[in-house]
Symmetry: C2
Subunit: 379 residues, 2 copies
């Protein structure tokens, strides 16, 4: 981490006047893997970085501006992103093709380009070692706390920072995460591991089922130590899951994290799709907000996908308490309700009793505060 | 309508003590078409009626109980439905195989079978001409107003009644609709028309994207007059759309109906899927609740499906006011906001500018009342 440098400055894009521009400089050009939103309506910065990254699969530096998504402003969005990359390249003396650009914030407002370029110059002229907490604060928008994690296993190090308050608001175009490792990894291995990890972490959280226009998740390999593939995968998953769960915890108006596990399914795809349906169900989310162990809503969501579920065989648990096993178990409702009242993380298990596969999704409950934030956001 | 009889009674399943049991007797065995929920977790009454109807494609009578979904109570649910059909057959002197059974209400509570059978006997012994308004009230649960419509075009008559407050709550297992026509129609034609009509009406409304365990929609042809296929289709669509829109209007906590039209798409499937994504977006629904002409959220939802959308070509209108055509049109925001404040029905149009196909979805806005009703429902 000591070799990674960062620079911070202000371009006046946040109403608070807090720092809103971050430049990160790697010690050398590094292998990396990036995954971007698959929304067809995407930020000019995403369009630019996706194209730039595809040419090289490596990078030397990146810049993030916060408070403005550089999205929905027409074709100039892509041009502005390129100018930001060129400015970073020019001031730091690195190849601009090795610089990626990320933006997050309000959609549809033109980027204040002159101020942004000026802020880039300033950030690049005052570099210091990467501070994960500060980096997360700079890129944060509606986040109520900074999101960062680090992990050390023997000589292997993995660390990262992120922003995103519950993938909530495409008007605050939402989730960015950057994870670093000191491991060596060739681009193909890195890409494969990255996809696996992303599926089990950032692709398995949901706050309101809305896909942002700016979501980006990168893994950067500094290439300093050798690491076993499985060790690297598991460390990346641990750090990424920790960051992803922080985003759910920070979901707007959330009072509970909901952990939904579908287990003993015949196929991974089935476990995943049913977990997604339960975790994304508004009725399940409002029931958790009301501390109501409403297994009927859980089953109705579990049964709503294309995958058949046998209602006479499936079992539903909340906090380990069996509420339904082909018929209701009302005697467990009080204990399940206590679990929902007492724990910050509510555990829902749907056991299909037909195979060995499982999947876990993380979600948050849905309360009045979500409506307040999202109905009144722009006014 | 004069020839259709109904009987009404009480089995004590509604807390209010209002009538909760309806029997409808047709003048003869009639061709019909029924569509049921495709949720794998479904009511015993749906399982029973689906199987019974598949054998015959016709019916003579049906019974609806309200206040109890007969769902999630184990295998006895199917047996109870059969006993209800047999009781109707016995008391009315019709073949029980020609009797269908529908239930709506709370999930997971055993049906009070003795009281229900007694109520069936009572309802069947005091028949009177079908009254659409009263029938809708009897089968209603959280509905705040009765839902019925009738239409006459020359000699062709189409009329129906429904219940459902916004498809909202699988714990109040939700939507039932029965539409009658005096037209003659063979079973195959009726089924084809029914599917087309259902796609454009009940399958194009959404309140919270949740699929109920009890949803059923039937069309019954009394077979008295000849009718042109297209006339019949269009009259059935008009009546069904009117009923479907009443369900959206009655969506819990709804203050606005949202009409989302995707037009000039290259394919019907694309128009439909994008309309569904926009109409179902929590962020669009909360923005409408806040009277915020937030085209960014509309575009983010439109771009979130698998179908490509060109962000530089698509146009977004609210209330006819152009808000985005490849770039923002901020000058129209005030007029769009006025439309949202003044009209009960907010019109959103997404024009893809690439073809000739279109689709319309109806949705409702999402406010505090939805949370209150759904978080506190069972407590």
């Amino acid at each position: 981490m000591r070799d990674i440098l960062m620079g911070v400055s202000r371009a006046g894009m946040k109403e608070s006047g807090d720092p809103d521009l971050l430049v990160v400089l790697l010690p050398r050009t590094c292998h990396a893997s990036f995954l971007f939103t698959d929304n067809h309506f995407r930020s000019g910065s995403v369009i630019y970085s996706q194209k730039a990254f595809r040419r090289r699969s490596s990078l030397r530096a990146f810049v993030v501006n916060s408070g403005n998504a550089n999205c929905g402003t027409g074709e100039e969005g892509v041009r502005h992103a390129r100018m930001m990359a060129e400015k970073v390249g020019e001031v730091l003396g690195v190849d601009p093709e090795d610089v990626l650009v990320f933006s997050t914030g309000v959609i549809g407002k033109p980027l204040p380009l002159d101020r942004v370029l000026e802020a880039i110059k300033k950030a690049c002229s005052d570099l210091k070692p990467l501070d994960l907490e500060e980096a997360s604060r700079v890129i944060g928008t509606t986040d109520s706390f900074p999101k960062f994690t680090s992990l050390k296993k023997g000589s292997l190090e993995v660390f990262g920072f992120a922003k995103g308050a519950g993938m909530i608001s495409p008007s605050m175009a939402t989730m960015l995460a950057f994870v670093f490792t000191n491991a060596k990894a060739d681009p193909e291995t890195l890409r494969d591991i990255h996809r696996e990890v992303c599926d089990r972490t950032f692709n398995s959280i949901t706050v309101d089922n809305c896909k942002s226009t700016n979501d980006s998740f990168g893994v950067i390999a500094l290439g300093e130590v050798d690491a076993d593939r499985e060790d690297l995968r598991s460390a990346l998953e641990e750090v990424s899951l920790s960051l992803a769960k922080k985003i759910v915890e920070d979901g707007e108006g959330a009072t509970r994290v909901i952990k939904v596990t579908v287990r003993n399914a015949s196929m991974v795809a089935k476990a995943r799709e049913i977990a997604r349906a339960v975790a994304g169900s508004l009725l399940v989310k409002t029931a958790v907000y009301g501390r109501d162990p409403n297994w009927g809503r859980i089953l109705a969501a579990a049964g709503s996908t294309e995958f058949p579920v046998d209602p006479f065989k499936v079992r539903v648990f909340i906090g380990g308490h069996l509420l339904y096993d082909g018929k209701p178990r009302p005697e467990a409702e009080d204990r399940a309700r206590s679990h929902m009242k007492e724990e910050r993380e509510v555990e829902i298990v749907v056991d299909l009793g037909e195979g060995k596969e499982s999947w876990t999704y993380y979600s948050s409950d849905l309360g009045y505060e979500y409506i307040r934030v999202n109905a009144e956001y722009r006014t």
